[in-house]
Symmetry: C2
Subunit: 378 residues, 2 copies
């Protein structure tokens, strides 16, 4: 199988990731529960993973790295845990349902006023429009770093400066960028960074988390066992325990920790460059094909390693099925949980076939995929 | 290491559990996202896991098995998602903080009236008292199946009958019983059963879930990507998607599925009997030791495979540390996230040293642990 659905989940992992999970399952107790060797081993591994995530994302406090089961959970905690009833929130057309649905919920149930920065037909964000939406009473900006549909990169640093100047909380969804675009929370002015472990970070499913700038207060979404302060009636106040109720997925986090090691050793720049060059190569081989329409702005190279396209007016699911069944090429069709972006691109009915690349793909695979697209178009 | 902290997490797993996780990490796409081979493989594995969990717990609808990252999350979803502001809720002194803290939160923030069924000095629940607490306006009973501290088993079937007769929602925390005590939701009258994957079920950390009786309505705690109905502004209504936002831990669930296979093949009765006999053997070897005080009612054999004890007035953490460092025996000391049970037992200050047994422990290990307790007491 030529696997080009890495924006959904990366199948190929560095070998050390799987080894770390296996070793963890054979040796780990429950992190932060007890002081025997197995429990301490789990606690230390999880703490190591916090340190590495903090290093990767430019956060000075490893204890402000909170682990969750995926980025959706992190985004729900961030959005539900900071935005007050009735406040004004700015978000964008590029967002995934993991941002949109929690915000729509607050809009419907808590009277939150929601405004959207618009994307054009190329999926580019209107940055001037964004600045105009900001008001003295704006409570938060919630924004993706990279579109999961077109690979469009948002200038997070610029938004972060606007947010910081105005004292607005800035929540970033790094689900598609973590691991392939450098992120530095401090210089980018990010207050809460939400990430998933199983996409660009190449870790196991069931892992993800959020990095929280010192001083940012988030109410817990869940409460429960904490292993400390057991006689307290409510969840302890301190991060990370404040937001981590119950047993952590230390098995998965051992894998994530090994994955982040790989990323730190290899370099986010190096990984991103390779992934982008794979996507660029595929783009260049497909863009001139008669009947193929590619979405997004390819005039810049600073993009996520994603190419979304359609062939004539064929249903994207049928194209993706044909790629899978006739060519053994895995892609993702349909709506990609990004309804407003499809509206911007004009692909609400057709969806789009997304080809997404990882460190482990090859130029030959990109070429084979392009050949398949050409054949289907002809 | 002699590992007797299985009530926190089971380290030893059936080999097929680890093999399943490794295989999943090498081959699985994102469950319910796309239709290529990798994605379908993940979807089918997760659906298989739902079928097995439904079979294990006597639920007729596999699509009403919802997976979460642990039982704490399941309990938070169940409690926050069903109990209405101002309603009357009955729970017990036996509960873990994963039940207590979500309920205290509703008490403080939503005016929920909370009443506790008391435990006596042996940790036994006052079942007559429970019935007396039930009122025409009682909205829910939330109850553990087995105390994580003493192993006391609650007669869930009897409470289920009381609840069903009165139309009261019945939520059960099976964190300590799943895999070692037979559970049949239908005959026991359970509306929502919350379980964890990494304890008695012998699966990976990062897995757990809830089984929901048909007709029970639960509001989502989190919303986000669902892979279906992407243009809907809110999470889809159908279980399990309704409560499962974002990418599932299909890697872990592959392991859990293999673990439940092992349990269904071996038999919950067989596993429970072996685990109870290990705990009973350890109990019989330690109960007469001068200076050793054991908590709980050992007049019955229907108990969780747990023995909690103290030696003289020694701090439980010091005893557990000595067991770990001098004997390489892993136990858990302290408060066990069960504050009201410690109050009932009179062990609030001292905590207790908990020895908890699994299918993979041996009689020799139980004997060695008992010898260590004897030496420490002498």
């Amino acid at each position: 199988m030529i696997y080009l659905d890495n924006a959904a989940t990366t199948i190929r992992k560095p070998r050390q990731v799987i080894d770390a999970v296996v070793s963890a399952m054979d040796s780990m107790g429950n992190a932060s529960r007890g002081a025997h060797g197995g429990a301490l081993h789990a606690s230390r591994t999880v703490y190591d993973a916090r340190c590495k995530a903090a290093k990767l994302f430019g956060l000075s406090r490893p204890d402000h790295v909170v682990f969750t089961c995926n980025s959706t959970e992190a985004l729900n905690i961030a959005i539900q845990g900071t935005i007050r009833p009735g406040s004004h929130v700015v978000t964008t057309d590029l967002e995934h349902n993991s941002v949109l649905r929690p915000l729509y919920r607050l809009q419907e149930e808590q009277g939150v006023e929601l405004e959207f920065v618009r994307a054009d037909r190329m999926g580019r964000l209107d940055m001037t429009g964004l600045e105009q939406l900001l008001r003295p009473d704006t409570g938060a900006i919630v924004c993706t770093h990279a579109s999961n549909l077109t690979g469009e990169i948002v200038d997070i640093g610029r938004i972060g400066r606007m947010a910081r100047e105005r004292g607005i909380l800035f929540i970033v969804d790094a689900s598609q960028s973590a691991g392939n675009i450098p992120i530095d929370m401090e210089s980018m002015g990010i207050d809460i960074l939400c990430f998933t472990g199983h996409k660009g970070l190449m870790g196991p499913q069931g892992t993800g988390g959020m990095c929280i700038r010192e001083g940012v207060e988030i109410r817990p979404l869940k409460e429960g066992g904490s292993g400390v302060q057991s006689y307290r009636r409510r969840q302890p106040e301190e991060y990370p325990t404040r937001l981590e109720a119950g047993t952590l997925n230390a098995h998965g986090l051992a894998g994530l920790s090994a994955a982040v090691d790989f990323i730190l050793e290899t370099g986010v720049e190096t990984i991103g460059e390779k992934e982008r060059s794979l996507a660029r190569h595929f783009y260049e081989l497909t863009e001139g094909i008669d009947g193929v329409k590619i979405y997004g702005d390819f005039s810049t190279n600073m993009r996520g390693p994603v190419v979304a396209l359609n062939i004539r007016d064929y249903d994207s699911s049928e194209v993706s099925d044909a790629l899978s069944q006739e060519y053994d090429i895995a892609t993702r069709p349909g709506a990609h949980c990004a309804p407003r972006m499809h509206e911007a691109l004009g692909t609400t009915d057709q969806g789009a076939v997304r080809f997404s690349f990882s460190w482990f793909n090859t130029m030959e695979e990109a070429e084979e995929a392009a050949r398949a697209v050409r054949e289907l178009a002809e």
